[in-house]
Symmetry: C2
Subunit: 365 residues, 2 copies
């Protein structure tokens, strides 16, 4: 597809996003009050159920078909030594996904989700890519470029590259909808991507790099100080970014972040529930929400990562995470766990008896 | 069984409880470090996996067979107007469990757990008790007494009643072990039982009743003030309870709380993982831990309820809850949700590839 076609797909997708009709939330609350339990006693599960009703425009929401989409790409900024792991690990871990040996393979199974892995910009070889052995896995290789440019020296992407990655994300949302998926988890793999995420978070929040930059996969304090300096350089080199989320994404982002941003836009346009994951996925969702604020109504914040920028972003989009298990792995692992909570919310909402039907006495007041 | 036989069963069960061998936790941590993820990046899932290894004495713990046991009983103190619901709701809700219409039916299904419902002291009729229709449900009617005595006027139970209820709980742990269950969730139903739980919590913690008494299923502020007064009367009437957990349980507890205490003791003796639920289940687990401190090593604190006494108890037993979803329903619903997290911890621990086996480069340091 040409760059102009990519641009048109993104634009049309954004135009198709509409806010949810909040009267569904009220109707869902009325149903909850008739179910055989004290009002409000399922806590946040009731809130989740109400939002699912509004997203799906039904009082009996279905989340039985679930998918985690993991976008993988490399980052030029990895050359600055910002990660505890060498850059080849991006491709090696994609190979691990394809062989079924990664955390997300195990946790997607537990969550009853299938897994799609999309290479939008890995820079090295992916072992075993011609014959994935993980059962039920969908594998797409669509490298836009072998990694981004180094954001500490120049803009990460050309506009055409960013639009192509976004369009690939939109295409995954469309594929999911065709496959009957109603709940879409946001996963990523990319050595160096917490540096890009920190630079974007500093820009979106106005906070200093040191407030939104953390150890990622496990830097020691000295390496963390250097990472903060790299983020500072990235912001200086890429100039004042003003308020344009596309420019923030293009200059500081990554191909997998652009694809996840596209997935969020496409998912919201198709009225799918979007389950964020950790810091990186939330950066992408936040950019999507800057592009189209109604995206927020389709988001479920899966969990809170210890990365300091994550809470900042969740506050920016006004979301409370469902889980806080100190996970900081990415890959969509937090999204997978949150899907079981969302599934439980839907099950209680749809399957419970009412006071009338069960012959149970309601409260006296 | 005679009271002397019940006493002997409880005593022998307590004697069979032994602390876990913590070297399993170290071995589990070594395995975690070889798995294809940054060290520690699965957060609390890694801690859960280590504890499962120690409980089951294996590096490949299995939690595929799960069960929630819901004990139901009435409370004489309900006559004081301490609940938003009439006392008949205990029996009606047991009928709802048997018909498959309650929250715990839906959430146990989601958690892949089967459900046992044990009437240890319901005071009213259980609709449909002769023919439960919920699929796969185990139903035991073993009423020790039709509800406890009113703790605001006298001791809740005779010692023989308490021991019988405890023995019924132990029997459920033994049945679960025979059925191959490795993870046991603690559920309860009993109108008035948060009043008993508050009285016990005040006694165990030394805090004032108003600090550990909450709205339960939903009292208004005036009714909550009266509930606090009832707890104060219960403590005054039942005298100084010193440090004997059996006496605290007998005088202030409930038949379902005694049974859950027995389930905890029996589960720990049989090396099963015990998943607490909300305030009431945690009271029972705390009493079990007072009887045998090693019980704590078999406990997983499922979630944090908004009931003010719940956090007090979790601090007493040194447990951090896995979830905080503002649930306050009981029935084992929080235990069910936590089981999916525990299952995910075991899945990641057992199923992931190692850096060596997957050909992934480990960190440079």
């Amino acid at each position: 597809m040409s760059s102009e076609e990519d641009r048109a797909v993104v634009k049309e997708t954004v135009q198709r996003i509409s806010p949810v009709d909040r009267s569904w939330i009220q109707s869902a609350e009325e149903r909850q009050r008739r179910l055989t339990k004290p009002p409000g006693s399922l806590g946040r599960l009731e809130e989740v159920a109400g939002r699912l009703c509004a997203i799906q425009q039904t009082l009996l929401p279905r989340v039985s078909r679930r998918r985690i989409v993991v976008f993988a790409a490399d980052h030029g900024v990895a050359a600055e030594g910002v990660s505890a792991y060498p850059a080849e690990v991006t491709g090696q871990m994609v190979g691990n996904f394809l062989a079924g040996g990664a955390a997300i393979n195990a946790l997607a199974r537990v969550a009853g989700a299938d897994l799609s892995v999309v290479d939008v910009g890995v820079a090295s070889e992916v072992p075993g890519m011609s014959a994935p052995t993980a059962p039920g896995l969908r594998w797409v290789q669509s490298r836009v470029r072998e990694g981004t440019r180094n954001i500490a020296r120049e803009a990460a992407m050309l506009e055409a590259e960013m639009l192509e990655a976004m369009r690939l994300g939109i295409a995954e949302a469309e594929q999911a909808a065709r496959d009957g998926v109603t709940l879409l988890g946001m996963g990523e793999m990319g050595i160096g991507n917490s540096t890009a995420a920190s630079a974007i978070t500093a820009t979106l929040s106005g906070l200093a790099p040191e407030q939104v930059t953390g150890p990622g996969t496990g830097l020691d304090p000295g390496a963390l100080r250097r990472k903060v300096q790299v983020v500072e350089r990235a912001l200086a080199v890429n100039g004042s970014l003003a308020e344009d989320p596309y420019e923030v994404l293009r200059k500081l982002g990554g191909l997998e972040i652009a694809a996840l941003c596209g997935l969020s836009l496409g998912g919201a346009a198709l009225r799918l529930g979007l389950v964020t994951d950790g810091f990186i996925a939330t950066v992408a969702a936040t950019l999507a929400a800057r592009i189209s604020p109604a995206v927020i109504e389709y988001l479920f914040a899966a969990h809170l990562s210890p990365e300091p920028g994550h809470r900042v972003l969740l506050d920016l989009v006004g979301q409370r995470p469902l889980l806080d298990l100190e996970m900081r792995l990415g890959e969509g692992t937090g999204a997978a766990l949150a899907m079981t909570v969302i599934g439980a919310a839907a099950a209680a909402h749809c399957e419970m008896a009412t006071f009338d039907s069960a012959g149970v006495s309601d409260r006296g007041d």
